[in-house]
Symmetry: C2
Subunit: 338 residues, 2 copies
Amino acid sequence: MTIKDVARRAGVSTGTVSNTLSGKQPVSEATRQRVLEAIEELGYHPNEVARSLVTQRSHTLGVVAMGFDYFGPSQTVTGIEREARRQGYLVTLSVVSPDDTDADEVLQALVDRRMDGIIWAVPEIGDNHAWIENGIPLELPVVFTNMERRSDVAATVVDNFAGGKTATEHLLSQGRRRIGHITGPLVWWEARERRRGWQAALRAAGLADQTTWWEEGDWSARSGREAMERLLARCPQVDAVFVQNDQMALGAITALRGRGLRVPEDVALVGFDDIPEAAYFEPPLTTIRQDLYELGRATVQTLLELIETPDARQCYISLKPQLIVRESCGGVISRAPS
Amino acid sequence: MTIKDVARRAGVSTGTVSNTLSGKQPVSEATRQRVLEAIEELGYHPNEVARSLVTQRSHTLGVVAMGFDYFGPSQTVTGIEREARRQGYLVTLSVVSPDDTDADEVLQALVDRRMDGIIWAVPEIGDNHAWIENGIPLELPVVFTNMERRSDVAATVVDNFAGGKTATEHLLSQGRRRIGHITGPLVWWEARERRRGWQAALRAAGLADQTTWWEEGDWSARSGREAMERLLARCPQVDAVFVQNDQMALGAITALRGRGLRVPEDVALVGFDDIPEAAYFEPPLTTIRQDLYELGRATVQTLLELIETPDARQCYISLKPQLIVRESCGGVISRAPS
DNA sequence: GTGAAAGCGCTAACAC
DNA sequence: GTGTTAGCGCTTTCAC
């Protein structure tokens, strides 16, 4: 089933079929109808591979993501896919692992398939973004997510600093004054940002001497429990803890309960992410929600603009996360979302 | 940067370049070296789109998934992507929504891009698989996941019936005799299978009259809480509940605690999925783990076989889920028999 | 308006 | 072994 078959059937040339399909050149109504009929009868669908070859456009976006069997990344990718499809694009997904050295390979495979653009949705860990430094080695438009601001690179991010600050300020507003902190792995840029936010809020409240009251976890509930144990051993006086994600907060709850401490009466807790389960923790968890779905949407829109207008102003879109108040901080109590 | 540039630079024809690259025709060592050098110097990478057009192979798999911002589906897709890449394939992902009428469109877009095969990783809900009935309308190899067995269709599934049966049998082995059940939406095939497993175990234990002790949820923690409330109202004597996923089990725990009932002393609980948080529930949740990562791997392998050997149509791979024993089933039963 | 023809970048016969 | 050439299925000049 090729365009030739359609042309033959309609008694026209392939160029005319192409024109009726694209509308780029005028076609008389009569032949238009005959072509459309032929297409219908033959059940013809254009071969997009052939089309890509000549137009140099694949209408496909390459997405490289990391560890997306977790809630955050998969939500981002979902947002990306939705928006891409809405705009007539397909998404080719590559998953890299934290220890991957094959970033180049992955990228090359996408370039070879002539993606129209790339979304690099890999968290910035250690120096895994170093390859960007000397200008992007790709002639393709690329947009990054959750990356430290750089010149000449487009990125969409969640304002993790603001998130950490908001969380801590909420704790302060509830009257807590001895606020500890459990971080994600500090090789992650996002983890460092959230900690900066916590420290900034502490300093602003005249609590600068407490900015060392933190312990490092690895995002897992297990590490949250262990970090909480360490924090309790080192700073038994804490009356609140800002935890950098909800899973670790869950572990922290377990640790506190194990020590006979009540949440929020003895120790208040704020998490980060607002995973669906957070509202059903015991107690329901106050947390910072980041709209990663929206992050995905915004990233696609940025990329499509870059594709249309390759003269590319560098743009850096920053999304503010939102405080969700539940019961783990005491004070204001809101119901679980309905 | 095309094959022509390489050919010119190496002083050979394009055919020779192609042959050195593919190795399908012998090339003298001397020219081979010259070609390789030219490729290196020019930084040449073959255009895979052009290659696809002539070879009729895209080395890309189309995956259509649903609601994969949840743990299960994203784990499956991760498994798919990993195995695909290991075998030299890229993955193009389409996400459909539960209320999709656009399944045809999605499929067509993948066919138009000449995917080498399709993985339909959409749960079977209502009659959303009806389009398969009159034989697959695609000339492409397709593999389905978690779908009821059909003739002439390849599928890889988790044995949900066995999972439900195992969960219930474990409860029975702990001495529980009044075992209720909270299901997912029964328009889901998987939910019906798990319930069948529960009922089968009940019947085998001579408890056939209890096979109506179930309530329906929608997979969310919230619905689990509500279903638990209803179940308690209708069958206050239950001493155990098998819940069809961990999120709903979390809600069930909340409901039980609200009624002053202890887990596992008063009511034992088994979940399904083994999400990472399950080990940190209060109490840690006994659950049925399904290895969806492996499901993804197996699905890709099946698909690749189908691509190589298109006459190998129907195969049905069934993966057994695994019981993970934690504390939510306890040993001691403290509720008085009624 | 419409048809003929020249590619897009590559592979695969087929000569030599 | 290597070069030549005819496509893969489409779009896009460019005549008419």
